[in-house]
């Protein structure tokens, strides 16, 4: 037996989680300013990074490693998350409207109360993905696979 993942958090006074060293300096500065609008984060390692409430509108996170990332309440409108590793991510209450999640891995990701209207989930892994109270209206789910947790989920007009 061995761990599936190990993360390290430095918690500063006031309960603030410091950004890990593996995040580029330039990205760290932008995170501290609270916005990553349109940022180029392709294939970046952002595992377990605390990004709650941040604005990533239109950012390119394709192929990024976002396992265990905290993006609760974040704005990810029109984000490109194609082939991103979002396993066990916290996306509670996130705005993922019109986001591209094609072939993304959402295994056991928490999307409770997230807004995914018109998102593209084509080919995405939805095994154990928690979609409780999420809005999946008009999403594209062609070839999406796995058994997500669906409970009070809005599914009007989905394309599958």
């Amino acid at each position: 037996m061995s761990e599936i993942a190990m993360l390290k958090y430095h918690i500063n006074a006031g309960g603030i989680i410091a950004l890990p060293d593996y995040v580029d300096k330039e990205i760290q500065e932008r995170i501290q300013q609270g916005t990553l609008i349109g940022a180029d984060l392709r294939r970046k390692n952002l595992r377990g990074v605390w990004l709650a409430g941040i604005n990533l509108e239109g950012a390119d996170l394709s192929g990024a490693d976002l396992e265990f990332v905290v993006l609760s309440n974040a704005r990810l409108h029109k984000c490109n998350l194609e082939k991103a590793n979002l396993k066990r991510a916290n996306l509670i209450g996130a705005d993922l409207t019109e986001a591209n999640l094609k072939d993304a891995d959402l295994y056991y990701a928490r999307l409770t109360s997230a807004n995914l209207q018109k998102a593209n989930l084509q080919g995405a892994n939805l095994q154990r993905t928690i979609l409780r109270c999420a809005d999946l209206s008009y999403t594209i789910l062609t070839n999406a696979h796995g058994e997500p947790i669906i409970d009070r989920t809005k599914m009007e007009g989905i394309i599958s």
Binding site: I4, L7, I11, A52, S72, N73, R88, N90
Partner: protein, 185 residues
């Protein structure tokens, strides 16, 4: 405070190692398994394991206890037995880790003896509260008891309190207050 988060292969249960960087004292929270990587963290950090805190005694949170005890003979376990002999529903106890003082909080519901640890602005909730969800219970009475405990003992903490649950990613009190469907009025 430094927190190492291990997502283990035992039902994906989390184990945590807390380290006070000043005194190098460490505390293990739950032990689904005891692995070489956990041992390595203590060695690399030159930290001394002071004890193990068990949030509840389900197999996926204690399976590594025997191996841990073989390695650390006489290791102290929290909460101490006396904690459970106190029948007061609002019972609490304290736990010292270096310069920090934690508060052990009773969170009955998932199991009658479930507990959490609040220390330095963060809370370890075991299987009482997860990001966007709550722990399973065996009766509606226990479910009600659990929700009551979460609402009165966790949601009353400062909004920016970090929550480290027994499974899954970390979260925040304010996020759970706003979005967790099990905690809405």
């Amino acid at each position: 405070m430094i927190v190492y988060h291990f997502c283990t292969s035992i039902n994906e249960a989390n184990a945590y190692i807390l380290i006070d960087p000043e005194t190098k004292q460490a505390l293990l929270i739950d032990v689904p398994e005891w692995t070489p990587m956990m041992e390595q963290v203590l060695v690399e950090q030159q930290a001394q394991l002071k004890g193990v805190f068990i949030t509840h005694e389900h197999y996926d949170h204690i399976s590594g206890l025997q191996k841990l005890r073989q390695r650390y003979n006489g290791l102290k376990q929290y909460p101490e037995k006396d904690f459970f002999h106190n029948t007061n529903m609002n019972k609490t106890a304290t736990l010292k880790l270096g310069d920090y003082e934690g508060q052990i909080i009773s969170l009955p519901g998932h199991t009658p003896e479930s507990v959490g640890l609040y220390i330095d602005g963060i809370i370890f909730t075991g299987d009482a509260l997860f990001a966007g969800s709550v722990g399973g219970t065996i009766s509606s009475l226990q479910a009600k008891q659990q929700i009551e405990a979460i609402k009165t003992k966790i949601l009353t903490l400062p909004e920016n309190t970090l929550i480290f649950p027994g499974h899954g990613p970390i979260t925040l009190v304010s996020t759970e207050k706003k979005y967790n469907p099990f905690l809405q009025p």
